[in-house]
Symmetry: C2
Subunit: 431 residues, 2 copies
Amino acid sequence: MISRILNAELPEHIGREIKIAGWIHRQREMKSLTFTIIRDRSGLAQVVVPASTANISYGEETVVEVRGRVIANAQAPGGVEIVEPVFTLLSKATTAPPFDLYRPVVGATLPTILDNASVALRHPKLRARFEVSAASVAGFRSTLDSMGFVETHTPKIVGTATESGANVFGIDYFGQRAYLAQSPQFYKQALVGVFERVYEVGPVFRAEPHDTTRHLAQYTSLDAEFGFIEDHHDVMDLLREVLAGMLSEVSQRASQALNLLEARLPLIPKEIPELHLTEAQELIAQNTDEDPRGEPDLAPAHERWLSEWALREHDSDFLFVTGYPMVKRPFYTHADPARPAYSNSFDLLFRGVELVTGGQRLHKHDDYLAALAEQGQDPEPLRDYLRTFAHGMPPHGGFAIGLERWTARLLDVANIRETTLFPRDLNRLTP
Amino acid sequence: MISRILNAELPEHIGREIKIAGWIHRQREMKSLTFTIIRDRSGLAQVVVPASTANISYGEETVVEVRGRVIANAQAPGGVEIVEPVFTLLSKATTAPPFDLYRPVVGATLPTILDNASVALRHPKLRARFEVSAASVAGFRSTLDSMGFVETHTPKIVGTATESGANVFGIDYFGQRAYLAQSPQFYKQALVGVFERVYEVGPVFRAEPHDTTRHLAQYTSLDAEFGFIEDHHDVMDLLREVLAGMLSEVSQRASQALNLLEARLPLIPKEIPELHLTEAQELIAQNTDEDPRGEPDLAPAHERWLSEWALREHDSDFLFVTGYPMVKRPFYTHADPARPAYSNSFDLLFRGVELVTGGQRLHKHDDYLAALAEQGQDPEPLRDYLRTFAHGMPPHGGFAIGLERWTARLLDVANIRETTLFPRDLNRLTP
């Protein structure tokens, strides 16, 4: 019995009898023969089926094994093809795909793709996005592993809404009211007290009431948090290394996917340019018709303008904007000691959109109590979280990268649903 | 300015001025001096504080930086200590830990540990468990990555209860009824159609109404699924490689934790012994006072007996039990073609308990419809899942390892809550 080889391995087997297996991707009937294209996880293979052979009338996506002989053919995809084939049926497709999976361009609307995800994702260009996504996560982890970070798994069911009562999903938890965690923020901070350096890759949940191209009800958050920092610049330095590690892993592990998608990997300089929010606003005021000075945040159009500026002036697809006003940041944010109305926090803009939020957190118990009092928040629901700081915590900070948003920007895909296998939103709970 | 070094690096710096940082783990006052032990992520360091020094009266868990000179001292932990220290306070502990973190044995009950998790986990022996857990997950991934598996992230909010309506948490999803996913089973199968080989590490949710040492409301499931298999033995072979990879990564990455915990890594033979359920029952009937022949499942005591048998007879801490009756397995289970009342599925017993469930799944659309009809289940709620099989699916199978249960058995810990950072159960929704 001969073992299956992958389609990508065929060129190493010219002249030999082999066995491949996969999906019937396409059948092109000619006068005297049919070209049957078989798709497996490694790519495509052409099988030459003479008209005299008992007709293989299986529909597209039928799963088969093919035994045959490999010959060189410069015209065939990959430079080889299989002749004298013998087919074995593994599983018959009983329904045609909702659109042609073999066409180079996906000929279906987004709702059709999403409604039929399990078959639509078989299109090589749709699948390729998730190979890039998986490689990105691998790079996130390997970079942090090499720096002594520990991977954690924290509760997704919580007794108190993490950051605010809005946009949170309620659960019936054995008769009690509970919520789906909006982020691992509180846990990753607590775990800095245990491991110093932690990361988590996991789902977060937002009951986002708006139907936009940038928001999902569940997404994958790449969270990191670490202690013994000076300020948020240490966090930004770490983030730069992590992004470089993600890009490096993508170019190594997912080069075939990148080629197929004709993706341009971003430019990431040794030092990502940084603007304080006030500097960014000054720049916009001086160079455009608008004057955002004094605003507490950046408008999407200004984020796009600043990204273009960073690419033009600094050859960078990334830009840090720091120093957002304290009033716009969560209570655990550390103020800038020199200008206490501004925070030691940052957003990272990537090709026109905010990709990462991060910064230095408060680490002293008294500072937490003062910050909550300042915002008029009751400390009681945060009792367990606050206890961590009563037991001694180092200066620390961290960030969170939204995986689907990262992949969308990396591959220049318009809607975040296109970089999510099975998205969940206001209107979508299936498949 | 000198940069911080880790405690574990001190022996390389004998004679030099250095800076360390960490938590005050313990202070031992002697007549003319105090030994202050500083804990960081790498271990402990002894600082010699002469009585003449301004007294460092910070409580345990206070976070400090210490500058000083490293000298050799064979009596000190690690063979070195720091003299002429200058302390800088980073953050004062305002509350004493709920039990002494410096004692070699944890002197607290499980509820005290769990109620105070964020400080309790700082105990080196409690923390070490999670270093083993993180290394295990790294080994799971690296083994599968090397075999061409793709990592996926699937919905945790689903419209239909995955496997049964029982033990499922309900959510209010924008006014609709939804559920927390009990497993990624349906998604990982669908994704075999896309990637052939997939894995996922993520939370799964069970509204487990029983308060046992083996069950949690949320746990971390290490799921793998792959196509083009002959039968469940291919899945068992893969699982053996994955477990060996996990153990290898644990011994490499977490050797310090293993030493601290005095853990004995299990014996995993090249081929894990296998018994068909009927053979296992025969063996028990012949060698004990009990006769389980004809039972559809194994009792916990019989699982323990069989594990001991495998260790005694085959030098293996692992044992496969195959061929559970179809009536006890979910509808997607593939039958044994030779004995259709039995399934092509398995449980893996590890040191007396069931650690992994897996097997071959159905892959033909008609077989799904027949299996559901047989069980009297309405196919309509499974419409999206079933559609995958109408589009051609290869013979496939997979398995799921419960991470917390794995770590508990690996480290011989009695309660699964002790290998979960912040457990969730019938009675526990905090911290």
